[in-house]
Each structure stands twice: as C-alpha cells, then as structure tokens.
Amino acid sequence: MTQSMATDYYMTAELCLLAGKIIMQNGGETYRVEDTMKRIAEACGFPDSQCFVTPTGIIFAISGANPITRLVGISARSTDLNKVTLVNELSRRISEGEWSAAEALVRLKEIERARGAYPGWLQVASAAIASGCFLIMFRGGWNDFGPALLAGGIGFALLISLQRLVPIRFFAEFLASMMIGSLSILFVRTGIGQELDLMIISSVMPLVPGLLITNAVRDLMAGHLVSGLSKGAEAMLTASAIGAGIAVTLSVLN
C-alpha cells in the first residue's frame, strides 16, 4: 500500500515536471506551465501542489503523506508551438479522465522526442518568402523581391545551422544579420537590387524575437516577474545582436 502510494507521488511529479519542461522549452508562457502542472496534479489526486517556474528551471512540490519536491533544469529553449499545443491537449485529456497517468507519461515522452512539425528546408523557405513579402509590405518595388527573398533565406539558414554548431547564444543572430547586411550590399553594388535599407529590414524580420517579446509581456502581466524580465532581457539581447551585426556590416562595407 505504502509502496504504491509512493509510486503515485513519484509518477505524478514525473508527469507534471515533464509536461512543464516541454511547454517551457518550446516557447509556452510561464502561467501555462504552472496551470498545466497544477491541473495534471489535481487530476492525479493531489490538489495541493506548489510550483516555481523560471525559464531556466522548474521546481515542483506535492505535499501530503509522502511529500516530494523535484527540480528540473532547462538549458536549451527553442520555438515549437506544436508541442505546446499537444501538451495542452494532453493535460485537458488527463483532467477529463480520458487518460491515466501511465498512458500520459508514455505519450509525453513521445512528444518530447518528436522532431519539429516542419522540416528545416521548409522553415528556411518560409523565412525567405516572408522576407520577400515584408519588402512588399514596406512599400518596396517588386524588383527587390528576389534579392530580399535570397538574403532572408540565406540569413535564416545560417542562423539555424549556427545555432546547432555554436552553443554561445546571440552569436548566431549576430553572424546571420552580418550575412544579410553583406549580401544586401553586394546585391545593390552589382545592380541586382535597388533599395538597400528596405532589403535589409525585410530580410532581418525572420530573426526578430517575436515570441520572446509576446511571452515577456504576458508573463509580466500574469505577475511572473522573474520570467518576464529574463525573457525581456533575452529579447533585448537578441535584438541588439541583430542590430550590432547590421551596424558592423554597414560601417565596414558601406
């Protein structure tokens, strides 16, 4: 009896932490992490759970006859909103009683292992198309569409591959925006493109930390000051890295 109770506590903590970790790692808001963990714990029969969630680690505790406190560190974060949606669905299924804890844990591990919803080449292609479209939105001419598409695509491809190679954050953004700046200057010098400024602005857009900005605001609003400020700092540093990359290119080459 005590043995099974102990496994219950352990299993619930394991389930909650894994769910929270996946949401935080893939770009979910802090309040969603807390909400999901509490909901799962409640569905497993532990209405009295506590958690402390930051972008770099989650502490989760259940009180009761067999109190348990566990910590999980989060070292790498990326953006995969599909996984966030899947975990969200899973937590609803658990609280509606459709799935047991054991089933859910298996499913969560599958979600964690799964690759991104879209292959890398498709993401690079969408970044390229988005760059071209931004050029049109910012009132550029159609003759600059192609160059912006190329610069944006190559810049984003460089960002993705550098993020895998170099573990130092912000460096990939810096180099990618330098690449975009140099390519745009090259296009203008050779006469392929006309408007340097518009080309750079629109090709840099896929690097903009949009999710971080949105999440920082939502976290601060929900009262998660630690998470909100650190996500805001991450967004600021990313934006500065992009700006610095362009600034260096402009002052050296132009």
Binding site: I129, V208, M221
Partner: protein, 142 residues
C-alpha cells in the same frame, strides 16, 4: 495596392506560423490574423493617425482575434498572436535609428530609437488591454 498589401501580409504571417512550428490546422488562421492586424495599421497610418496609436490599435485587435480563435480551436493563444504581432514590430524604425548611430548622427538616432521604443510599448499595451477586456468579460459572466 491594397490587395498587394493584404496578400503579402497574409503570406508573411502564415510563413511565420511555419517558422514557429504552429500546428498545421492553425496556419491559415495565423495568416488571417496577421493580415487583419496589418490592414488596420496601414489604413490608420494612411488616414494620418500617429504610428504609435495605429500600432496600439492593431496589436489590440490582433490579441482580441487571437483570443477568439484560441477559444474556437481550443489551442494556446500564443499560437495565434505571435505571427500577428510580427509585422507590427518596429524593425524599420529601429534600423533607421541604428543606421544614424553608425553615421555618428546621435541626435537623430536617439529620436528614432525613442520612437521604436514607444511603438514596442504600444504593442505590449495592446496585448495587455485585450487581456484586461477578456478577464473583465469572464468576471462579469461568473
């Protein structure tokens, strides 16, 4: 002209959905929300409305629409709001500010930098306002 803007913003926002790994059944909605937000921004600025106010209103409507979509399709709200917010980010103003700073024109750089900061604040405020409205509606119903 306006059709060009609508099509470009739809495609750009949907493409951002792909970059953020949004679920497949949400991509069209992402494009729609981004298109509507950008259309509102363009129309307002063409009527002579200050770009900060235009951004505030556009961001607010993006957030409200995202909330409706999140309820309808039972998905987290960020799935929808992120790609709609991206076109409003003051990339151009920030770029101009930086360009002037590189050219040692710090006074103009400062002005433009402040403007970019104000527009970012407007995006944040737009997100907050829609959340406030949402909470208020929920409280009133209960």
């Amino acid at each position: 002209m306006i059709i060009e803007q609508l099509a470009a913003s739809f495609v750009a926002s949907a493409a951002f959905g792909l970059i953020f790994n949004v679920p497949k059944r949400a991509i069209v909605q992402c494009g729609l929300i981004g298109m509507l937000g950008w259309a509102l921004y363009v129309v307002l600025t063409e009527q002579g409305v200050n770009s900060t106010i235009a951004t505030l209103l556009a961001a607010g409507s993006v957030a409200v629409l995202s909330q409706v979509m999140a309820k309808m399709f039972r998905m987290p709200i960020i799935v929808f709001s992120v790609s709609g917010i991206i076109p409003l980010v003051p990339g151009g103003t920030a770029y101009d500010a930086m360009r002037h700073a590189v050219e040692n024109q710090y006074d103009i750089a400062m002005q433009l930098g402040t403007k970019a900061f104000m527009i970012s604040g407007a995006i944040a405020l737009g997100l907050v306002l829609s959340e406030v409205i949402n909470q208020a509606i929920r409280k009133v119903r209960v």
